[in-house]
């Protein structure tokens, strides 16, 4: 028993040296020893095998479910407009000789529309995790899948062991090292006087730490169109799925962050980062003042030595199947916009942060116990606000470009609907349309 503690300490030392040597150092300098590649290949093959096995047993049913859970059409909707449908509804009734053009049957149209939106609507499904076509051997996605074969169950068991006992501690260690290094490194660089080397060093420190964190999440990122990478003096906008988006993007370049000042661990990170290169952190009270926010962003953008700003205009996390309304604030500044589309592959792990369901810590733990994080990042060509285009139209244009590239659904709804209610003006739209049909007709027919 007495030998236990020294032995344990020795094992821990070896473990740390291995991590530093095999994972951290390559990550810091941006090359790879091929360990993660091998892991990914094995993982992909395993999941493919599992999928085939599952599909063989549930052949027809899976095919039907696949087409159904694509989200774009559980129910068949009438394509007609309100006017066309109401006209059809009224065709069987004679026009009343007296009074306005209203009949009780008009309400049937609204009833049907209401029931359709209860069965399926475009918005509420964006705030919960995407459904998988086939099970990926994680407990958390095991919704309806039943016992299929011994080998599959064994694989699932092995998977749990590997993920929780080997991968998770490894990843947690890496992330801790990464964050500590970020704080120490940026503070150290911050102490240097303003040489030209300083900005180069600060970029290097930042990228290094984010690379370590990315390894800590087993992230396999594929960057496309790197010639369109955001330049200094511009604003980079992307669709938002989780806070990990920042790690994904910063692995390939340095950005200035925008956000609220937090306390605790986040606050420590924020203060450290600001020491080595300028970021834009706002106090909570300052966030309400739109002019102040706008001015600070404009100042940052106009200074050509400062890094491009990274902004997520949706304002909240969406589940990576669609892109919701972009808030126009960042599009009013008049700077060059560099759109970026991020699409995660849900087979390996669900990256969406459902902030009403999970806290930040439990979300990170879930991330670290998934298989891996696979995503594609597309850099789109820069966009400018065109003459005669207002900020809202510009924002929508950028949003469509991002949605198109990432294969996401382009929605007009506001992501804020996750928590807030629909604005009154939207509610009255249908009423107005209907009234103009009824009263408008009356004024023309009565004389």
């Amino acid at each position: 028993m007495e030998d236990f503690w020294p032995l344990a300490l020795w094992a821990l030392e070896i473990w740390l040296y291995l991590i530093v040597g095999l994972i951290m150092v390559p990550a810091m300098f941006g090359f790879s020893l091929g360990v993660s590649e091998t892991y990914m290949t094995v993982l992909v093959k395993t999941l493919e095998w599992a999928t085939l096995k599952i599909q063989k047993v549930y052949a027809e049913e899976r095919a039907l479910q696949a087409s159904a859970s694509n989200g774009s059409g559980l129910i068949k909707r009438e394509d007609g407009s309100m006017e066309k449908e109401l006209e059809e509804l009224r065709r069987s009734r004679p026009k009343p000789p007296v009074g306005g053009d209203f009949t009780l049957s008009d309400s049937f149209y609204f009833t049907r529309r209401g029931i359709e939106s209860i069965v399926e609507d475009e918005v509420t499904q964006r705030f919960s995790s995407e459904e998988l076509v086939s099970w990926n051997l994680l407990t958390r996605t095991n919704v309806d899948f039943q016992y299929i074969s011994l080998r599959l169950t064994l694989l699932y068991g092995v998977g749990i062991l590997v993920r929780y006992c080997i991968l998770a501690p490894l990843r947690i260690t890496l992330v801790c090292i990464g964050l500590t290094w970020l704080v120490i490194g940026t503070s150290a660089v911050g102490l240097l006087p303003n040489w030209r080397m300083k900005s180069w060093l600060s970029e290097w420190v930042h990228v290094m730490c984010y690379r370590i964190c990315a390894r800590g999440l087993s992230a396999a990122i594929l960057y496309h169109n790197r010639e369109n990478k955001p330049q200094k003096g511009g604003i980079c906008v992307a669709n938002h799925t989780s806070p990990i988006d920042i790690v994904i993007l910063c692995n390939d370049g340095c950005y200035a962050m925008v956000g609220q000042v937090h306390g605790g661990l986040m606050g420590v990170l924020q203060r450290a980062m600001v020491r080595s290169c300028p970021h834009v952190w706002f106090e909570r009270s300052e966030m309400k003042d739109r002019h102040l926010v706008s001015k600070r962003l404009t100042d940052h953008v106009n200074d050509k030595t400062k890094l491009p700003i990274l902004i997520f205009p949706e304002g909240t996390c969406i589940n990576n199947t669609s892109v919701m309304m972009f808030k126009k604030g960042s599009f009013e500044i008049g700077a060059t916009i560099y759109p970026v589309a991020i699409k995660y592959d849900p087979k390996f792990g669900d990256a969406f942060w459902n902030s009403s369901k999970y806290s930040m810590v439990s979300y990170l733990l879930r991330m670290m116990t998934s298989w891996a994080l696979v995503c594609n990042v597309w850099y789109l060509p820069a966009m400018h606000q065109q003459a005669g285009e207002d900020a809202v139209q510009f924002a929508n244009r950028v949003k469509s470009a991002i949605a198109h590239q990432g294969g996401l659904v382009d929605l007009q709804w506001d992501g804020g609907l996750k928590r807030a209610k629909v604005k009154e003006s939207f509610k009255e739209q249908q009423q107005k349309q209907y009234s103009s049909m009824v009263v408008g007709d009356e004024s023309s027919s009565s004389d």
Binding site: G99, G100, F110, R112, G114, K427, S435, V439
Partner: protein, 216 residues
Amino acid sequence: MGALQSVPGHPEYVDLAEKTGFSFEQIGILHKRFKQLSHNEDTLLREHFSKIPNLECNPIRSQIIGAFFDRRNFRQDGEGTVEEIGFEEFLVIMSHFRPPTLHMTEEQRESVRRDKLRFLFNMHDTDNDGTITLEEYRHVVEELLSLSEAMEKDTAKSIADAAMLEVASISMGHMEPDEFYEGITFEHFLKLLNGFEIESRMNVRFLNMDTTTLCK
């Protein structure tokens, strides 16, 4: 009982399928939707419905939501309202909107028709006295017409009155000046909508689904 398409792990679906006529697949989908709306709880409350943005924009949303909590629609000859519903009640309400299947006799079609019209009637007869009174009728008109446009309450009132007059003349024929029309009873309602093909208009059609139901 013919070819039962069994889904392992959901024996309770058999009862529900028999009761409502939905297929197992449709029940599965609606169950997922129920859980999504109720945030994984067992019962649905009125406020869960107000989270659906498209529904919030609907002028008669309160009647539609009310219909889900109205015991007259649960096919158990109950009356009054409830405050929360389980999945079974949700499914029963949805079954009012099932399209009629292809091989239905004339009698079955008629009963489907009556059933749908009864549902719509209950939606507007909010005080459950068996008639849609002038007040209730006016209420519907007011909800559908926008109050913010330079329209006053009087305009809505007069439109409702005129429409009600027309209904009275169709249902009762000629009325004496001192006769008072109490309201639209369910029989009058059926008569009014005689030519109306409601069984093809009040449906929610599921796409790509295996819509075979159990053979009875």
